[in-house]
């Protein structure tokens, strides 16, 4: 594919006179891993909501390839190939890791098809590949309920991968993780990027540094700075916003 995967230009969202997003522009290329940081209320979650169709922009352009996302609903956008991981992981505790991924696999979703569903070799291989990718192969037969917090997050990312999205939106993946888990998550997201684009919203600057990719800083609903983590951290405007005057 040529051109950007995700393209936001001049996007504004106004809630009762409050500008949650103000003339925001963002371009994500195919296979890119992008970190989005910013203080509370900078508009990170609103940006995700606009991309996934949960919130309609008041003004501006949002496209995914050739598709105008501002005219589509959540389900249609999800089916286009945009997967979103919410902050709070929700996996099915009473099912095994393998079964969790199986439910997420692209397949007919009606009760009758599910009753007649047989796991074909190709589907098994696909689940195996994702298990490998999220580092849970050894735990495939265990109940998701016994996983650690970090492993649950990875399983949830795995469930998104099963849906084979072109663009993955990940909201605060390392909140509550141990240092080691945080490192492994950074490695996981780096592995995932390349074949698909990944946008990560995160507070944790150490984690963003570990990702080692381009960073976008949001402030008051608009893009404040963009570049490598070092460049961004040395930007006087960013220092002012983060450390105060």
């Amino acid at each position: 594919m040529s051109g950007p995967v995700l393209y936001l230009d001049g996007v504004s969202v106004v809630f009762d006179g409050f500008r949650a997003l103000n003339n925001l522009s963002l371009v994500v290329d195919p296979g890119e891993l992008r970190a989005v940081i910013g203080p509370n209320g900078a508009g990170k979650t609103t940006m995700m909501d606009v991309i996934t169709g949960k919130t309609r922009p008041t003004a501006g352009v949002v496209t995914f390839g050739d598709h105008d996302l501002t005219k589509m609903d959540e389900a249609a956008i999800a089916n286009l190939g945009i997967g979103r991981k919410f902050q709070k992981p929700t996996v099915f505790d009473a099912l095994t890791v393998f079964e969790n991924l199986e439910l997420a696999l692209k397949a007919p979703r009606d009760p009758w098809s599910c009753l007649r569903w047989r796991l074909a070799a190709a589907a098994r291989a696909r689940i195996g590949a994702v298990l490998e990718e999220i580092g849970l192969s050894a735990r495939a037969r265990e109940l998701a309920g016994v996983l650690s917090h970090g492993q649950r997050q990875w399983l949830e990312i795995g469930m998104l991968l099963m849906q084979d999205p072109e663009l993955l939106l990940v909201d605060e993946p390392v909140a509550g993780m141990t240092d080691q888990e945080t490192e492994q998550t950074a490695a996981l997201l780096r592995r995932i990027a390349g074949r698909r684009s990944v946008v990560v919203v995160e507070h944790d600057l150490e984690f963003v540094r570990a990702l080692g990719e381009k960073v976008t800083v949001l402030h008051e609903g608009t893009m404040l700075s963009e570049g490598s983590i070092d460049a961004v951290q040395n930007d006087p405007r960013v220092i002012e916003v983060y450390l105060g005057r």
Partner: protein, 365 residues
């Protein structure tokens, strides 16, 4: 759910095979009862007529319990009105049995059942037509409860009515049906219901042979239902149901239509309960609006809780054991029963959250 866990961590004989063996053994023992009933009077091994018909009744209850467990234990749909589906199935069979009485009624009318003659009916109401045919009556025993489950389920699940609100709704459903069936002008015999049946499929009821036949029919229904339910929960459909039970909105977010899954399992469950009711009526010889009483449905839920929710086998075990205690206790202290039932529910909830099946599982470890 734990069955999946047990199946994925095999040690020694797989748990699934053990359960299957226990089921087959249980069915084999039950299948012996009508045979032992044929032994001459005075024989030490002889089983009484009473035992056969009471056990047949419990088998029907066990199918009702299975139906409840499929919806409640796996999909998290707690219906407190499943007795209504059971009673509707029973009424369908009752209508057939009434038509078969023919001119042998007290008033000797060739077509109309006694209560219609008494109430001054001139001809059969349209909804009684066809019930003289056995296959049609059985089809209605399946379709009428299924249709009611579909309508109630569709209206509720579509509006995302869940949990206790749905339970209250189903209580109201069965209560409303009870009031309706109590009315004489409904054409279902009012508060007397139907009784005094003569025969079924050409066999006079109240004979040893008829009792045995009905017993085996009920046993076959139980075995078939258990097989069907175990199959359903072992498929991906079953896993989606468990996922709906534990995190409904997440399932929706994965792209599944939660409404259609809940509806499918609720309709299946209602139809199973209907068939159980249809076999229950010739075994006990009567059906009246009391079967719709909300208390009946709650009692059936308690069987499932006592046996172990979400295990299927537990539902069957619970129906048998609670009813065994009930039959024994009510023979000398009927007033105590409701206290015992309530106490049982509290005790199981506090001490045995996984029911009797949980007790076995703990032993096995």
């Amino acid at each position: 759910m734990s069955e999946i866990a047990a199946a994925s961590a095999p040690r020694g004989i797989p748990a699934r095979l053990l359960v299957r063996g226990a089921i087959l053994a249980g069915i084999a023992v039950l299948a012996l009862l009508p045979l032992l009933n044929q032994l001459p009077l005075g024989s030490a091994l002889r089983v009484s007529d009473f035992t056969v018909s009471v056990t047949g009744k419990w088998i029907c209850y066990a199918v009702l319990a299975l139906a409840i467990d499929l919806a409640w234990g796996y999909a998290g749909i707690l219906s407190l009105g499943h007795g209504a589906f059971f009673a509707l199935g029973g009424y369908a069979m009752g209508m057939h049995l009434m038509r078969l009485i023919g001119p042998r009624g007290v008033y000797g009318h060739p077509v109309l059942p006694d209560f219609m003659v008494f109430l001054g009916y001139r001809e059969l109401p349209w909804y009684w037509l066809g019930f003289d045919h056995f296959p049609y009556a059985m089809l209605m025993a399946l379709l009428v409860p299924g249709a009611l489950a579909f309508v109630v389920g569709w209206l509720s699940f579509r509006s995302r009515i869940t949990g206790v609100y749905f339970s209250i709704l189903t209580q109201a459903m069965t209560y409303a049906l009870m009031l309706a069936f109590f009315r004489n002008d409904m054409g279902f015999g009012g508060n007397n219901g139907f009784t005094d049946f003569k025969e079924l499929l050409g066999v006079p009821l109240n004979t040893q042979g008829a009792r045995a036949g009905l017993f085996y029919a009920a046993l076959a229904l139980l075995a078939g239902s258990l097989f069907l339910c175990r199959h359903v929960v072992s498929t991906k459909l079953g896993r989606v149901l468990v996922a709906v039970r534990d995190a409904e909105s997440r399932v929706r977010f994965l792209g599944y239509s939660v409404t259609s899954f809940k509806l499918a399992v609720f309709v299946l469950s209602g139809m199973m309960a209907g068939l159980a009711g249809a076999l229950y009526v010739p075994l006990v010889g009567i059906i009246n609006p009391g079967e719709f009483a909300p208390g009946n449905s709650i009692e059936a839920v308690i069987w499932v809780a006592v046996g172990g929710r979400g295990t299927l086998v537990g539902a069957v075990l619970g129906a048998f054991s609670v009813n065994a205690v009930k039959t024994w206790l009510t023979s000398f202290a009927p007033d105590l029963w409701l206290f015992v039932l309530g106490g049982l529910f509290v005790a199981v909830t506090l001490l045995l959250p996984q029911g009797l099946v949980g007790l076995f599982r703990r032993r096995a470890r």
